[in-house]
Amino acid sequence: MKINKMYWLLLPGLLFLTVFMLIPIILTIGSTFVQEGKPTLEGYLYFFKDAYFNRILLTTLRVSVFTTVICIALGYPVAYYISRLGTRKKGILLALSIFPLLTSPVVRSFSWMIILGRKGLVNNALVATGIVDKPIEILYTPTAMIIGLVHLFLPLIIITLVGVMENVDSELIRAAESLGASRFTALRKVLFPLTIPGLIIGSVLVFVGSLTAYTTPALLGGKERVISTFLYQNAMTLNDWYLASVIATIMIVITLVVVGLMNKVATKLNPKG
């Protein structure tokens, strides 16, 4: 087929994305730099000066960092365990990891409302065992958001890392052990370095995902705002579309910078280029 004929195959999809995604995004970003017909940076100055916005930004970052670290701490050993199992068991555990991933985030966040609420499982257990006298506030705090987000993204990091670890030749670890390294040293010096590129990709998926997640913070965060629920509030409740556009732009920039950095680092670390 002639090469210019082939562009016709791409054209409908490209036009569709341009009209309904690219133009809206570019115009939204553009609109934040213009107010009453004049170029301005006021929206951003206002945003970064205001103590309330800074607090939201900080909460968001803190929640995302904690979520990412916990996901790695829990997911890495589990991924290693799964990757060394036989085909049948591995298939079952992978299916059990993928199932929550495909289940609606509304359902998954809602389940934590039942568990973390004032009369929920956790509080009942704490009161019954006498650890606390009366129910503590867990739901509607940043802690609840972290728990919900870990639950949301843990399957993602597990299956990403299983994919990476399956590519590591287990003979390498055995070779290290037969040369006198302990199991732990062999894993630390042989397996770990080989999984770093995958670890970076997985962490970035979780970090960016937590940074921009809406459903979980909306259900588990209560009045506690993160950047995405703040965007929604400005767009839909307060009708401040200018500020909402500023927040949207900031979110796009953060996402692109983090993902861009990841691509750079991952390419550099990947021995195959």
Binding site: L14, L27, V208, T255
Partner: protein, 263 residues
């Protein structure tokens, strides 16, 4: 050489209890008779399952969600299959850029995508809400269609297609009678994965509601913020059963779940 790691096995079991426990708890509470969610429940009742039908916004938004996901899927296929074909069949200038553009909807934060679509697709272009939902869901399904079908096509031996053409088949005929049947299971898997992505979507749909118009996840979100009875738990169980069934079909079609571990 088989060495048992009891510590690791116990750790993994605990992590899986953390992952699946909440889903079990939600299922159990859905059968509780009380008006407040309680675990463990005081008895057994199916009344909250009946309540799904009693609150008429639930069946209504369920139908909306299904229609939007199916139509959006169809639209995403019409736009995505030719693009996936061109991107995996030919090497040309700008291919990487075009590929990046087609996959970019997964890169832009969903909530940002939703807001910009509200601002431009609904308000500036003046599309009705249903059309806006359809367009928004098509945009988020496209990357999944392109990626899954693209990976199917990259395993396809295009010399078979060339053979058909050299034997006198037209380009279109060769595509529909030779290429398409060979990537059938990839297409089915792409459709199902995209369907789940769209059906569960909150970030776009939350900006596109109107009087009596909403999708099921948004209706659930609104309901949860106002009532705390087990109706949502009952719906959750129904949705989990549907998810499990679709996952089973995807596994059969793809001959495993390897798609999910390769990124």
């Amino acid at each position: 050489m088989k060495e048992k790691h009891y510590g690791l096995a116990i750790f993994s079991t605990l992590v899986f209890i953390f992952l699946l426990g909440p889903l079990v708890i939600i299922s159990v509470t859905s059968f509780g008779p009380g008006t407040v969610l309680k675990f463990p429940p005081d008895g057994f009742s199916l009344k909250w399952y009946q309540n799904i039908w009693a609150v008429d916004m639930f069946p209504k938004t369920f139908v909306t969600s299904i229609i939007i996901s199916l139509l959006g899927n169809l639209l995403a296929l019409i736009l995505g299959v030719p693009a996936a074909y061109a991107l995996s069949r030919y090497h040309f200038r700008g291919r990487d850029l075009l590929n990046a553009i087609f996959l970019s909807p997964v890169l832009i934060p969903g909530i940002v995508l939703g807001f910009t679509m509200l601002k431009y697709v609904l308000v500036m272009y003046q599309l009705p809400i249903y059309a806006g939902l359809l367009v928004g869901h098509t945009v988020i399904m496209l990357p999944f269609i392109i990626r899954v079908i693209g990976s199917s096509l990259s395993n396809f031996d295009f010399s078979i297609e060339e053979a058909a053409v050299s034997l006198g088949a037209g380009r279109l005929q060769a595509f529909f009678r030779v290429v398409l049947p060979n990537i059938r299971s990839g297409i089915m898997a792409a459709v199902l994965i995209a369907f789940l992505e769209s059906f569960n979507n909150v970030d776009i749909s939350v900006f596109m509601t109107g009087p009596g118009i909403s999708t099921l996840p948004i209706q659930m979100l609104t309901y949860v913020q106002n009532y705390f009875d087990p109706t949502i738990a009952a719906i959750s169980v129904v949705l989990m059963i549907l998810t499990g069934l679709l996952m089973f079909v995807i596994e059969r079609l793809m001959g495993g779940l390897a798609y999910f571990t390769k990124r």
